[in-house]
Symmetry: C2
Subunit: 81 residues, 2 copies
DNA sequence: GCTGTATATACGCTTAGGCGGATAATGTCA
DNA sequence: TGACATTATCCGCCTAAGCGTATATACAGC
């Protein structure tokens, strides 16, 4: 299911993708999350390792959730795809 | 699957649970994550809104991953439990 | 009780996140 | 190409995350 995040780059990519899919501008997301447009830009570009707090607000603005999942060491499982 | 995180409290609980299940001390996790024991304590108690960066390191130390998932608005689905 | 182990707090310090505000690039389209 | 919309950067500033170190509780087991 969800996209695994292991770096700020990963997070930025996931956020940008979700934002595009919803046809939103950085300003829109920023407003919903109560942050500046500049910060959304930074996060999407992986330019800052934001605070968890901030990340969750931005994700919420995109109707996304953060989730903790066991790190998979198992082999590729085709039934999951 | 994974546990949804919407606050630092949620995160702390998830981390503490995982740590206990692996019979690890805060010191052990701290070392693996290259942070102080005191910080692990703070995070587990939701006392600080840590940086995403730090959170990921701690989770990695517990063989956990952070994941972005769509926020579920759907009704309760018994097949998932 | 006492002793060792684990977790929670404290203090001063450095670093970096996020702000307001503005501006520079970049894209887009008529 | 010009006008507009969107995104990327920059400034100074303030706050808090995280550090090192140390200590204070809490939690065992004997």
């Amino acid at each position: 299911m969800g996209k695994v995040i292991r770096s700020n780059k990963d997070l930025g990519a996931a956020i940008r993708l979700a934002r595009k899919q919803q046809n939103l501008r950085q300003v829109d997301v920023a407003q919903k999350a109560s942050v500046r447009q500049a910060l959304v830009s930074d996060i999407e570009n992986g330019a800052t390792t934001a605070k968890l707090d901030t990340v969750m607000r931005v994700l919420a603005a995109l109707d996304l959730d953060l989730s903790v999942v066991p790190r998979r060491t198992t082999a590729f499982d085709p039934t999951e795809y």
